[in-house]
Symmetry: C3
Subunit: 138 residues, 3 copies
Amino acid sequence: MNRTFEIETRGQGTYEFTRDIVRWVEGAGVSEGLLTLFIRHTSASLLVMENADPEVQVDIRHYFARLVPPTTDPAMSYLTHTYEGPDDMPAHIKAALLPVSVQIPIIGGRLALGTWQGLFVFEHRDRPHHRKVAAHIG
Amino acid sequence: MNRTFEIETRGQGTYEFTRDIVRWVEGAGVSEGLLTLFIRHTSASLLVMENADPEVQVDIRHYFARLVPPTTDPAMSYLTHTYEGPDDMPAHIKAALLPVSVQIPIIGGRLALGTWQGLFVFEHRDRPHHRKVAAHIG
Amino acid sequence: MNRTFEIETRGQGTYEFTRDIVRWVEGAGVSEGLLTLFIRHTSASLLVMENADPEVQVDIRHYFARLVPPTTDPAMSYLTHTYEGPDDMPAHIKAALLPVSVQIPIIGGRLALGTWQGLFVFEHRDRPHHRKVAAHIG
């Protein structure tokens, strides 16, 4: 069973879509199986992360902004793919570092997420984007 | 087929559980399929890594401790989620960086691990924890 | 359905094999399913990354060479697993950081790759290697 989820982003940061996925899985009538999510982009990632305290999401965004600074930062002057903007090549690097696909078992009709785990799209570009996540239940 | 594996950790580091997984897969009577592992936590990761030389595991732990230092390190003073201890937010960052799920094909009834590959839980917290890994054969 | 893909590498960098995978998937006669790729090594990774502009691949290689320098770099003097060469332990670290497995849904008989996404082996060793990627369609 396949479905594409569409997430609108408004700049760098994390966008939770746990509820949409949980509702789809629980409505699928599959008691035992496997959920796969795959993000169809090279400048955004999937993230399974704590969703209780919003500070965690802020800190995650700041950490990765420092680990992979914009190409306007002198430390990144060796990068060559810069004509699509200072956030573009760092976005590709973050997309290499962070998950493009995630799998979660379905047990007893429910997704086996831990108590504190939520599902997010992590947008790496500054401008708004329309992101597609291909979802599969098998 | 689902099963939950439970791993007791005693501080930051890697904990191998290859043998438990291999025994379960080989006893499952599945000649061709796919193993999925999913860790149900936001402060520990899965790792597929060399298990021949223990120095590799020590070096992996040291590398990530430097890449994401504790919040007591002045370099991390921008982090805001610090009230659960200096190892907590770095643990969430490492959990974002490293795998939450891993898939390994089963071929001829055996897990297609390479010669040097072992399966580990990578604990990012200082105190002992009881970690759960949801496993699925499909 | 299982198959092993073999990729010859010639030093650190990315080696695209999108076309081989797409041809296999499209020839498999599976209209809806899931492709899994698993690399059977601890010093090379899988990468789903932009394949339009070769500069992106060059920049990715340079970024990771700086994030995890060779053990001859004084910044890495704390590493102990050095007897297999200055590129060996950094290769294991990059293999921990980057994907060992990737899953892509198959929808309408085609792989759900985004427009700009290609599949690569990312070689972390300096010398040529023969790399094996276990592929599964389920």
